[in-house]
Symmetry: C2
Subunit: 418 residues, 2 copies
Amino acid sequence: MTKKNAFYAQSGGVTSVINASACGVIETCRQHADRIGTVYAGRNGIIGALTEDLIDTSRESDADIAALRKTPSGAFGSCRFKLKSLDENRREYERLIEVFQAHDIGYFFYNGGGDSADTCYKVSQLSETMGFPVQAIHVPKTVDNDLPITDNCPGFGSVAKYIAVSALEASFDVASMAKTSTKVFILEVMGRHAGWIAAAGGLIADYDVPVVLLLPEVDFDHDRFIASVKHKVETHGYCTVVVSEGAHHPDGRFLAEQGTRDAFGHAQLGGAAPVVAGMVKDALGYKFHWAVADYLQRAARHIASATDVEQAYALGRAGVEMALDGKNAIMPTIDRVSSDPYEWRIGSADLADVANVEKAMPLDFISEDGFGITDACRDYLYPLIQGEAYPDYDQRGMPRYVVLKNEPVAKKLGPFEI
Amino acid sequence: MTKKNAFYAQSGGVTSVINASACGVIETCRQHADRIGTVYAGRNGIIGALTEDLIDTSRESDADIAALRKTPSGAFGSCRFKLKSLDENRREYERLIEVFQAHDIGYFFYNGGGDSADTCYKVSQLSETMGFPVQAIHVPKTVDNDLPITDNCPGFGSVAKYIAVSALEASFDVASMAKTSTKVFILEVMGRHAGWIAAAGGLIADYDVPVVLLLPEVDFDHDRFIASVKHKVETHGYCTVVVSEGAHHPDGRFLAEQGTRDAFGHAQLGGAAPVVAGMVKDALGYKFHWAVADYLQRAARHIASATDVEQAYALGRAGVEMALDGKNAIMPTIDRVSSDPYEWRIGSADLADVANVEKAMPLDFISEDGFGITDACRDYLYPLIQGEAYPDYDQRGMPRYVVLKNEPVAKKLGPFEI
């Protein structure tokens, strides 16, 4: 087998553990230096490949690569750039393969969600027909937890832990003062299409916290919501509301929409919490507070789930091992063996079965009234937030997060307009 | 010396370490059972004393009291109820002393900020004249860090750590994707009158993060702010803005005001972040995201500063020791001996000098352009966020926070209207 270089890119919204997958990919490649040459990374994701803006990861020390395991965000940069279909924009795929060919890249590790799985799959198909076959491996990542086949997606477990812990702490705070002060606390969390993240907030019901979830899976019903909050305040003295950014009215309108759209044409959301707070105030007159966690939740490496970090790393490593095993157009997955005690192993999925398939939250994870989660959901969620994997801190009290050198690779091709 | 009971109450907004002070008070009282009888706590703060709704802390196990050190919020409940001046409402003070007398309470430990220091001081004065002298000790607590004489206030260090770490993590996230996505991230933090908490966000400049602070100490100047953000985006590719809820226009109007007021007549704030985001979008067109940390920041026991936890406990303990030493109308303080290496010791302040004095952030802590902090501020802040003092977690991955039994004490007096 000829030695080939590898290309690694991060795609879409970054997470607190996507760098742990990068660490798994790069460390495993380094352990197989006999078969894998240099690992190049795309600066700012796939755009770096299209513009031939490659990073030479061999210039990074072993210590710095190891530190990626404990550093949130995307160390090489990421982007939401979605390649169009082969019919619409074949030249972009061809360019990718030209860049791979120019740098003798035989392994493509693409670390992302559904869109990147699709790109990854198409690259594997087209490279074959172009006579420069590239083994394309998709390493899953998304806080949205919406990839099919895999039991869960790296990034999600840590957000879930952050939301469950933060909602619990804030609820304790509210409970302390509810007699004379804030009675309703509203926390807005991510989750455009699925309520996975908000569902993690539902775990605090196990601590006797009165919590109401507003999930995208359940059409918002103003009167039923207000009645539920009122009941909880009357019985517990206060109420915590965890609202997904994707919560929407029956006609599909989000509870709050900023009116701007991102590169994928998705509406840019934010501000459901103040909207819900206003409803509570108008209908019930309770004193309220609200928080919007936004990027804090997906960047919160300081409270990452140890399970999540371990799986993110393991999937990066498994991707490389599958490539070395001759696999192509594949995605390593997390297969759950049992929930209690939690056991998991690495499996795999064909990218043909992954691309453009979005896994919804099972409806039997949602309680009958639509405002909470079921035991089935609890059994699913708890293992994913198990364990703490703290970053190291310096003497000043700040986390030691690594910033890589990210040195560029000399270009061999002409420019390319995207 | 006759053995007397003690009364402990939590006042004002709770923090992630006020229970550590409670732990310090109760454990130290238990260690001096020869001189201090039962420690009663006020249910929901001072209101519990006025309504004779006392909690018998002797019913709590040593293990549960020890767990307070690692549990955020106010375990006995807190309130913002401010006693009026002696002239205006002498009957409330007299009631307090009647309740103390009825339950043979000779020690009053009041754990709070400026308002509670004032109440504490008046109780000590009036109890003397009423012939039932009570030793009134104020144990400092406030995330606002605005009590005089003490170098810092318990609760602040942990919020500062939370904000510095969270802002750093979110900034790494934004940096990852700024090339094609969000360029400006806005984080709203607490701090109605002083920029202490926002200043902690300024620490991330030490990690080469381009950060702009909007402090209450500096009148908001729209054009200068926009120019600063623009410059940072042009030179660094992105910009993080940390805006204090107390940031205001030159005429005093807050950047955002919800229009409601709390029991102290303070405007209830929230929503400066979306206002600032709108300004950035309108003036510069950059893609933005914003977060409002709200209660998450002051409840975040999971990322508490070890220094803060230790000091909160030490001040509780010192309060009891001072009482046993015969002191009255006093507040134990943190005296800084040196910043590097950080050394501190317990000092004390007369409540006459504490009540109704608000410590402002020194102006030499603010950088010349008004958007950052100086080295003097860094030297002050870093020691306060030193060390991590994690809570324990259960096997499911959630923190073990204690909920006390909070059993009531039989009433001896008639009802009281407040």
